[in-house]
């Protein structure tokens, strides 16, 4: 018996992977479990209910926070993913790749509270500069541009999510042969047509994955958002505020579980679609391994 025929080694690998997944996901599963308990968190008795999920929509605080979070997440995705795509395209063409990759990944290596605080100070000072400039020009047009609020939170989230999107898109772009773009240009296509007709369909999966990832990251983010958001609340700030002050409400558990379900569904969907697509392509390759005619 060797490594290839020993079934226990195979089972052991799967058991190990399962252990890792269970360890990582246990807290999430526990929140999901609590969210269906009619008696709430910490109760001795467990009675299954959908009640808390029904109450989510009547909780104005939660719904308001969810609305802001969604708006922030979608706006971050709409702005951040194309920026990451442009950055990845620039990186592919750059002669010296060390500097752009360092600049793009740098936000990953700065602790969130430090980056958030730095941005907070930056925006406050920038705001003072703009207000002073407006006063000097006798106009109030520059007032409030950098007041803490939606835009500052948005900039913080874009800075946070771009490195992740960049890496995801770059991985997909790695498989793209840039000579196809040149071939398209040679066929008369402009740079934009070559990108849209030829390159984008081949890196689309990476761009959509980056978009999904960005949405999920925005839902998860707390530190930078809480420092930069100003007067409104997001989903995570509400949850953490509740935990620190009054304890989470049952609806909050339900909402947390709901968001987790959605995130797992999105990521799972991407993984399953990718696997099915890979299997389909492999099957096609097998079917045409011997072309109908020689040469």
């Amino acid at each position: 018996m060797n490594d290839y025929t020993n079934p226990w080694l195979h089972r052991l690998k799967w058991a190990y992977m399962l252990l890792i997944v269970v360890t990582l996901m246990s807290p999430v599963f526990y929140v999901m479990y609590i969210s269906f308990n009619a008696n709430g968190f910490g109760a001795n008795e467990y009675d299954f209910t959908w009640e808390w999920y029904g109450l989510i929509f009547s909780d104005k605080l939660l719904m308001g926070a969810l609305g802001w979070t969604m708006t922030l997440a979608v706006t971050t995705t709409v702005i951040g993913v194309p920026m990451a795509l442009l950055a990845a395209k620039f990186y592919k063409r750059a002669q010296n790749k060390v500097l752009p990759v360092f600049l793009l990944l740098a936000p990953l290596f700065v602790a969130p509270d430090i980056l958030g605080s730095a941005l907070l100070v930056f925006f406050k000072n920038t705001n003072i500069v703009f207000v002073t400039l407006g006063d000097a020009l006798g106009t109030g047009i520059f007032d409030g541009w950098f007041d803490l609020g939606f835009m500052t939170a948005l900039i913080g989230l874009i800075i946070y999510t771009i490195p992740y999107s960049f890496v995801v898109i770059l991985i997909t772009m790695g498989r793209y042969n840039p000579e196809q773009t040149e071939a398209a240009r040679s066929c008369g296509a402009t740079a934009w047509q070559a990108f849209w007709d030829i390159e984008f369909p081949q890196i689309r999966a990476g761009v959509f994955s980056a978009a999904s990832f960005t949405l999920i990251l925005c839902f998860n983010e707390y530190t930078r958002t809480s420092l930069l958001k100003g007067g409104f609340d997001t989903f995570t700030t509400v949850l953490i505020s509740q935990m620190l002050n009054t304890g989470m409400s049952e609806q909050s558990y339900a909402m947390s579980a709901f968001v987790s379900f959605v995130a797992i569904a999105i990521i799972g969907g991407i993984i399953i679609t990718t696997m099915l697509r890979a299997e389909m392509l492999a099957r096609q390759h097998r079917e045409v391994a011997e072309p109908a005619a020689a040469n």
Partner: protein, 369 residues
């Protein structure tokens, strides 16, 4: 070429003083070349010599550091690839994997704004031209390398541009397929009357297809000429070393007398026609002669040789190459000489036998550079 009105038509491609630098790296140095309309022109040279850089600069994929590219007399230096009257065939096929064969071929027509029916009709005709009837619905990954290359050809030709740039188009194909495709390319070019500019490092491929060949090495245009001339009478030492199988002898000029230059090669005086080149006594020069023009005989055999057209040597070994056999001998005084023959030598020659390598004097060429 003269137009019906009597005006001389400009060449299809004219490159003037073209240079391309990548920082400190010089990829091309002051290249001047003119390619006539309807010509099959080959850029031949070793890898990294600058031939692909020249081709891509003509196609608009590189901006030259200085110099001009004129297509049909128009300076196109400022134009991107999609605005030039050129189409390109790539070494890596560069087919669009998410499109089927028909859509690959018709992509340029779609960009040009042709309707669906017209696109389909023209694309199908182009596929017929390259022998790919019945493959329209296949995806590129369902084709072999040769088929993919033909799709690429169809995609380029359907555009009806009059200059086709081919960047090592056959490099990824096996030897037999490469030979077949060479002939097909030559026939297609002849049929269509387009200007083909073909980059290759394979001299056999170049000889098969080319009307004229340009040798490029170290970013420099070494020599340009008709294929036969480049093969039979290379002007430069590099050309002799790269094209065909040439013996190259290094020597020093000992005497110049009219049309005869005497060169000391490993202690033996060899005579050569300078062919118009200025040489002075004492100059270091190279001599070359194709291996199929050199004969070997055992020394002392009763064979009349031209005076100054032989070198004493010692027989080393025979290398059987199928159609031909190469006989190798060490020149007395240093160096090696190769004699390539179709038939075997009249006699079996043992290793170490003293031999004489000889040739017709007019077959030897002198190279001063």
């Amino acid at each position: 070429m003269t137009s019906p009105t009597g005006a001389v038509a400009p060449p299809a491609v004219e490159v003037r003083g073209l240079a391309k630098h990548y920082g400190a790296v010089v990829a091309l140095t002051d290249v001047d070349v003119t390619i006539a309309a309807g010509e099959y022109f080959v850029l031949l040279g070793p890898s990294g010599g600058g031939k692909t850089t020249l081709l891509r600069t003509i196609g608009g994929f590189h901006r030259p550091t200085h110099g001009q590219v004129l297509l049909h007399g128009n300076d196109v230096g400022h134009l991107p690839p999609d605005k030039r009257p050129t189409a390109m065939v790539f070494q890596s096929y560069a087919l669009f994997p998410h499109m089927n064969v028909l859509n690959n071929v018709g992509y340029g027509l779609k960009i040009a704004g042709l309707g669906k029916d017209e696109r389909r009709e023209k694309s199908a005709a182009a596929l017929t031209m390259v022998g790919l009837d019945g493959y329209a619905d296949r995806k590129p990954h369902e084709l072999s390398g040769g088929q993919q290359q033909r799709v690429q050809l169809a995609r380029a030709m359907v555009l009806e541009r009059d200059i086709l740039l081919l960047d090592e188009p056959l490099a990824a194909l096996d030897a037999q397929l490469r030979k077949d495709m060479c002939l097909e390319l030559k026939h297609l070019q002849h049929e269509l009357g387009m200007t083909f500019i073909h980059v290759t490092h394979n001299q056999e491929e170049a000889m098969t297809v080319a009307d004229r060949i340009a040798l490029i090495a170290d970013g420099e245009l070494v020599e340009v000429g008709p294929a036969k001339e480049v093969y039979r009478a290379p002007r430069r030492r590099f050309t002799a070393s790269f094209v065909g199988e040439n013996n190259i002898f290094e020597g020093t000029v000992t005497n110049v007398e009219g049309a005869v230059v005497s060169v000391d090669v490993a202690g033996t005086n060899v005579a050569v026609d300078p062919d118009g080149q200025d040489v002075a006594v004492g100059a270091a020069v190279s001599l070359s002669i194709r291996s199929e023009l050199v004969k070997l005989t055992t020394r002392g055999a009763d064979i009349a040789t031209d005076p100054g057209a032989s070198l004493p040597a010692t027989y080393k070994e025979a290398v059987y190459l199928g159609l031909t056999t190469s006989h190798l001998a060490d020149i007395d005084g240093g160096g090696e000489v190769v004699s390539r023959v179709v038939e075997d030598l009249d006699e079996d020659v043992a290793q170490g036998t003293p031999v004489l390598a000889y040739w017709n004097r007019e077959d030897l060429r002198l190279h001063t550079s």
